[in-house]
């Protein structure tokens, strides 16, 4: 069974700093997809970024980028120039396709003014 592990329960940085959230996963499959979702205090799940395992190039979305290391089964999220609105829970998730998402335990990120 696939598992996703986020080893940092909480992180805190100052506004405008860069922060990296870690995620590792376990799968025997070769084709799969990885995601980061943001959950602000409203508890809505907001898609931040996605990565296809067959692509070597790391995905980027504005201030958000990933470091995808397929051999190491690692998928970290980097947030540059962090903003107060980035304060949220961040979940790493895995899927093989049009199938269930498997989530990590989440990292609570606080951006301090």
């Amino acid at each position: 069974a696939q598992t996703v592990t986020q080893s940092q329960p909480e992180m805190s940085v100052q506004e405008a700093e860069t922060v990296t959230l870690s995620c590792t996963y376990d799968t025997s499959e070769n084709n799969y997809y990885l995601f980061w979702y943001k959950q602000p205090p409203s508890r809505q799940m907001i898609l931040v970024i996605r990565q296809e395992a067959y692509k070597q190039q790391n995905a980027t979305e504005n201030r958000f980028s990933v470091n995808f290391q397929k051999a190491a089964k690692s998928f970290s999220l980097k947030i540059s120039d962090s903003q107060l609105g980035d304060t949220a829970m961040y979940f790493c998730a895995f899927t093989q396709g049009a199938q269930k998402l498997v989530f990590g335990q989440g990292t609570r990120l606080t951006i301090n003014p």
């Binding site: 508890r43 809505q44 799940m45 296809e52 979940f91 269930k100 998402l101 989530f103």
Partner: protein, 115 residues
């Protein structure tokens, strides 16, 4: 921009009562999912639905749970006899038919409290 909607946003019920949570997926999506999140815990998969039938379900999704697509737009989750431990946030999600099936878009959730 199209989005997944869910009603109600909050529901309080008594233990043993039936509840129906409603979702309207994005209109051109054909894969539908329900997840739940107990307060302070991670998001857990309940069930996936495609082509008018369940494609996968978790061990959480026992006989007390059922899903239905009663018309062309709604997707419902029914809990027949609620338990205290059913208190959680319930999320509906959907994904496209082709081209981007892997990306699931979530609704805002229904916060269920069982007393």
């Amino acid at each position: 921009e199209p989005e997944v909607t869910q009603t109600p946003s909050h529901q309080v019920t008594q233990m043993g009562q039936e509840v129906i949570l409603r979702c309207v997926p994005i209109s051109n999506h054909l894969y539908f999912y329900w997840y739940r999140q107990i307060l302070g815990q991670k998001v857990e998969f309940l069930v996936s639905f495609y082509n008018n039938e369940i494609s996968e379900k978790s061990e959480i999704f026992d006989d007390q749970f059922s899903v239905e697509r009663p018309d062309g737009s709604n997707f419902t989750l029914k809990i027949r006899s609620t338990k205290l431990e059913d208190s959680a946030m319930y999320f509906c999600a959907s994904s496209e038919r082709t081209g981007n099936q892997e990306t699931q878009y979530f609704g805002p959730g229904t916060r269920l409290l069982v007393l």
